[in-house]
């Protein structure tokens, strides 16, 4: 078996070593900094794992810019939104949601899980009301 591990696995092992061998021996400010380093490492690992989905979500957003003359499509999208070209546009809203959800799943997955549970609850309540 090839012992060479992937970058994600290496980050995971390093993060575990930080957690089990370093952080518990520290106190005060050094401990807080070490905790932040651990958080940053977990975030990078999640970003690696979701890189393709993240790029796909961003590409889906940029598809709403139809003018190929724009050198900066993100800027063009922002101007178009500001100028009212996409008011209440449901597909753009869905794309914005997908992009924010993927990036939140990288920065704070627990928040995304809580948000999705609440949305599911709201949707269930609405369905019950509809049936009622």
């Amino acid at each position: 078996m090839d012992p060479e591990i992937s970058g994600i696995e290496l980050l995971d092992i390093a993060q575990q070593a930080l957690s089990t061998e370093i952080i518990q021996r520290l106190e005060g400010d050094p401990r807080n900094v070490a905790l932040m380093i651990g958080r940053a490492m977990r975030m990078v690992a999640r970003e690696f794992a979701q890189l393709q989905r993240r790029f796909a979500a961003q590409a889906a957003l940029l598809e709403f810019v139809d003018d190929t003359d724009h050198s900066n499509k993100m800027q063009a999208l922002c101007w178009n939104i500001r100028n009212g070209r996409h008011d209440a546009h449901s597909q753009l809203h869905a794309a914005l949601w997908a992009d924010a959800a993927i990036r939140t799943s990288i920065s704070k997955p627990s928040l995304l899980a809580r948000t999705e549970r609440r949305l599911a609850g709201l949707s269930e309540n609405a369905s019950s009301s509809d049936r009622g």
Binding site: A40, I81, S90, A100, L119
Partner: protein, 337 residues
Amino acid sequence: MKNELSRLSEWLAGAIGQGSIKILAFHPSPHGSNEQNWSVVAEVDGSSSSFLIRKDGLAAVFAGHALADEFALLQLAHASGVKVPRPVAFCDDPEVIGTAFALFESVEGTSFGPYVVCDLSLGGDRSALAQRLGHELAKIHRMPASSLSFIGAPTSVPAATEVARMRAILDLLNIRRPALEWGLRWAEINATTPERMTLVHSDFRTGNYVLDSQGLAAVLEWNLAGWGDPLSDLGSFCAECWRFGREDLEAGGIGTRCAFYHGYEIESGTKIADSAVRYWEVVAHLRRAVLALQVGQHNFDRRPQLASALDSRSIVEIELAIVRATAPVTWRSVHGS
């Protein structure tokens, strides 16, 4: 050459009318949301007294009031019966501690948002606390703001003004984030003329008030106060981004929306328009995101650091809340609601 502490003790003796004062401690205070607040412990006539010092500094960066004006606001709030640290004196001589500063009586307790939300030994009964905060906010909205010349004149549609202000900041920072633009456009479309204009605190939220074991000890961070729609303060308080993980407790992560509204309605004698408060909750998210971008750029310009880098990644969490709250069905001019 005198050192900072001896200059401060000399100034303090003059400010509080005592002949001999010895500074026992002078260090950053845990109260408030930035590095402007410092704690001072002094021996005055043989007994220990505690003060809070607020240093000048960040107003120019984040468009808040000058410190002298903020001090005047606190004096007015104190005279109006609002729970604030008692203003003692203002020092405009930068020679004393390197910058102008305002001196207040110290307030015991905690303001750090995550502790306020999680530590139930703070603040007494939480339902009563939510009601009390509503009550206190109504007192703020009754303050005679016209007596403060630096507050300026009210604008007819404060939400539109706020949207324009935030767009100008994004443009100045050259930041392009479609979720924020979407939220700002929604806020522009849905802006309404408020039923009344009052003094508003503009940053009334968990993290900016101090709790002791009994209840509310003080409302802090007045440097953004100005004319506005009073419901904007209720929106800030209820905004999900200021609940510190307790999304289920809609009043600042500490109580129910109902208890908070009830306290406000009793004290103000007005009925709260819930839909307007929810509009301002979205604006509060936009404000927080834009402020986070400003703070992030300010910090990175001075010295890149890990905490700032991590904070920069949390802006998307605010964007998620903005996008969730601004679904197409909620756009007024399109749907006529």
